[in-house]
């Protein structure tokens, strides 16, 4: 039975959407000699889905036929779902025509595993190679590395792709064994190790020979599914931190589990854990960019992130002995730790105080969120608050506003109501 290109696209986009990565930044591919496209500098989100996620790449599976039976996956072998497969040429045509109309930054190609890992990987590589060599395509290409694919194929993939990723999906070996019995940690981590070694090698060689071909210039990333298995936030973030350090990952993505198939090994939930996912991203940011250690944000007593307040505020409330900071003298490294002050505001503060003694009005105009920051800083020795608030009170005032206790009570009841519904 012949199926139309539109039906194929529908099936193979629909089953690729649970992979949350959409980044198109970090590429260094320049358009030289009148080719098509460039992927320099920052990424671009060309559209946004109704769930508010960025659409940057044509994110599709080459096929959703799969020999594996991972419980969390919509394309699992035992799932009764429509199957389809693109030809290499179809993917190339779609990519080029979407790119020329400025719909996308490039291609994110993944696949179900048909026949075996190498057979699948070889086809993914063929798409990328064709785009680069026959169409002089300089847009962004993200290829998924199939667990178990040979080192040679991974190496070749890196020559054409800007980014490679291997999804770990489940944060512990035990969970992987329960839900994805055909996979194991070693098989996932081996290609990740190969990619890292190759990244390091090429970087070294580039210092000696400028002509060394690039290898996945936007690095590698992975994804963890959150909420399908019982791991704590602490376990998840510790794993992510280890991956950043040992495998030089650019990003770890967290994907709140969306129930896609019936399986007694999976939890029954009615909505995906979106708030938890958001808190994990915030914590990930604090670790990567703000200089926090995972053990500062979470420990044995507090293994889960607070769902009500963001992890920076939660940390600051547990560490009130470090505050208040005097904004006119404190170091940049500690200013970025103040709730309500982001990286940009911190930089502006440090730049502006060379010219003037900063006041509360200056801070407001620089973009500091005063209602959060004011409990943790002084400006010229002055605090905005005349009385000392305890941890609970600050938390309440930031969450529900500063009006009388009746308004706060109303706010917290409303909150309970929303949580219950």
């Amino acid at each position: 039975m012949q199926i139309s290109i539109q039906e194929k696209l529908s099936i193979l986009a629909d089953s690729a959407k649970y992979d949350v990565s959409c980044s198109s930044s970090g590429g260094k591919r320049k358009n030289e000699g009148k080719g098509l496209g460039n992927a320099e500098g920052m990424g671009i989100c060309h559209s946004y889905t109704e769930d508010g996620r960025c659409v940057s790449l044509l994110k599709i599976l080459l096929t959703n036929f799969c020999i594996f039976d991972c419980a969390y996956c919509v394309s699992r072998k035992s799932n009764d779902v429509k199957r389809a497969a693109f030809t290499v040429q179809e993917v190339v045509d779609l990519t080029i025509n979407f790119y020329r109309r400025n719909y996308i930054e490039g291609l994110f190609l993944s696949s179900g595993i048909f026949k075996n890992a190498d057979y699948t990987m070889e086809r993914l590589v063929r798409v990328a190679k064709k785009l680069r060599q026959e169409h002089k395509f300089n847009g962004y290409i993200h290829l998924k590395t199939i667990p178990g694919a040979s080192e040679e194929l991974v190496k070749e993939a890196g020559l054409y792709a800007d980014r490679l990723s291997v999804n770990i999906e489940l944060p512990t070996e035990q969970s992987l064994q329960t839900l994805a019995p055909e996979k194991n940690f070693t098989e996932v981590l081996t290609p990740m190790g190969h990619i890292k070694d190759q990244l390091v090698l090429v970087k070294e060689e580039k210092k000696l020979f400028k002509s060394t071909p690039s290898f996945a210039p936007a690095g590698q990333s992975t994804q963890l599914i959150v909420g399908a298995t019982p791991e704590s936030d602490r376990q998840i973030l510790t794993l992510a931190d280890g991956l950043y350090q040992n495998f030089q990952l650019k990003r770890v993505y967290y994907s709140g589990y969306v129930p896609v198939s019936a399986d007694s090994r999976l939890p029954i939930i009615s909505t995906p854990p979106i708030i938890r996912e958001n808190r994990l991203y915030q914590a990930d940011w604090l670790v990567r960019l703000y200089g926090f250690g995972v053990n500062e944000l979470l420990d044995e007593q507090n293994p889960q992130l607070d769902l009500q307040i963001d992890p920076k505020l939660a940390w600051a409330l547990r560490n009130r002995h470090l505050f208040p900071l005097e904004i006119n003298t404190a170091d940049y490294e500690v200013i970025v730790r103040v709730p309500g002050i982001g990286l940009k505001s911190a930089k502006k503060i440090v730049a502006a105080r060379r010219f003037a003694h900063l006041t509360w009005e200056h801070l407001r105009q620089i973009g500091v969120v005063i209602k959060r920051a004011k409990y943790f800083i002084t400006c010229g020795g002055r605090s905005l608050e005349t009385r000392e608030w305890d941890e609970e009170a600050i938390r309440r005032r930031i969450m529900y506003g500063e009006k009388g206790s009746r308004a706060q009570l109303w706010g917290s009841q409303l909150d309970l109501f929303q949580q219950a519904s």
């Binding site: 358009n31 098509l36 559209s47 889905t49 109704e50 060379r354 105009q365």
Partner: protein
Amino acid sequence: MHFYTYDGSFEGLLTVVFEAYERKAWPTQIGREGEAPPGIFATHHFVPTDPGKAKRVWDGLGKKLSKAAWENVYKAYLWEQPGFEMLIFQFVQLVFSSAEGGVEENFANRSVQKMAAVGKQMFREKHRMEAFIRFQRTQDGLYVAPISPDFNVLPLVIAHFESRYADQPWLIYDVRRQYGAYYDVERVTLVTLEDAPPGLRKGQLDPAVLTSAEPLYQELWQAYFDHVNIPERKNKKLHLRHMPKRYWKYLTEKKPRGQAHKPIQNKQVPTGVPRLGA
């Protein structure tokens, strides 16, 4: 009180700055030629554009400012919002009056703050155009996109599209300001086309001029857009914050569809989870 007028060009505005310094007569207001003076007591000076004088001001700024802050002065001109001329003048005055460089980082100063805020607005609008422009291919192989940005960012996006689509001819047309940028695979020229493709001046391309494959790719893009959505995660507020409604009219994926694209259903539905759309 001094009211300066100029021809509306960037060079003209820089000439006003030069003349104000020359005459030591600081403007209380600057306006386009023909604009009514702010009051009967204002002295009116019309300043004819002088490229030489403009260049001296521009180069002088270049010596005292970082590249980003320097370019930001031009962006404030393209911002076009009420009072932009005086904002530029006051910022220039601050720059020329401070002995040392780096004054663009004095975020405690009002005009530095305002210039930074304008720069941010311009960056955002430019970035939106780079994202939201949708080309349609005509029968003669030209890729055409109508736009109507909040600010005059077309001059700022040209370089981006020139290097990205180096091998295809394209035309980006600002419907609000009635001018466009046309790339012929060699160079970009600014055009105010009388003979633009039919309908373009109103932002609507006549389907008859489009290549035969165009409707297919538009439909495929709509199908793709609908299928990457995860209905369980619906968040309309976030969607609108990223993609405000005023940008929808040129977005292919926001146009009416020939057919609805419903999420692919599992025939086997997880227990305890309501079937979508049921």
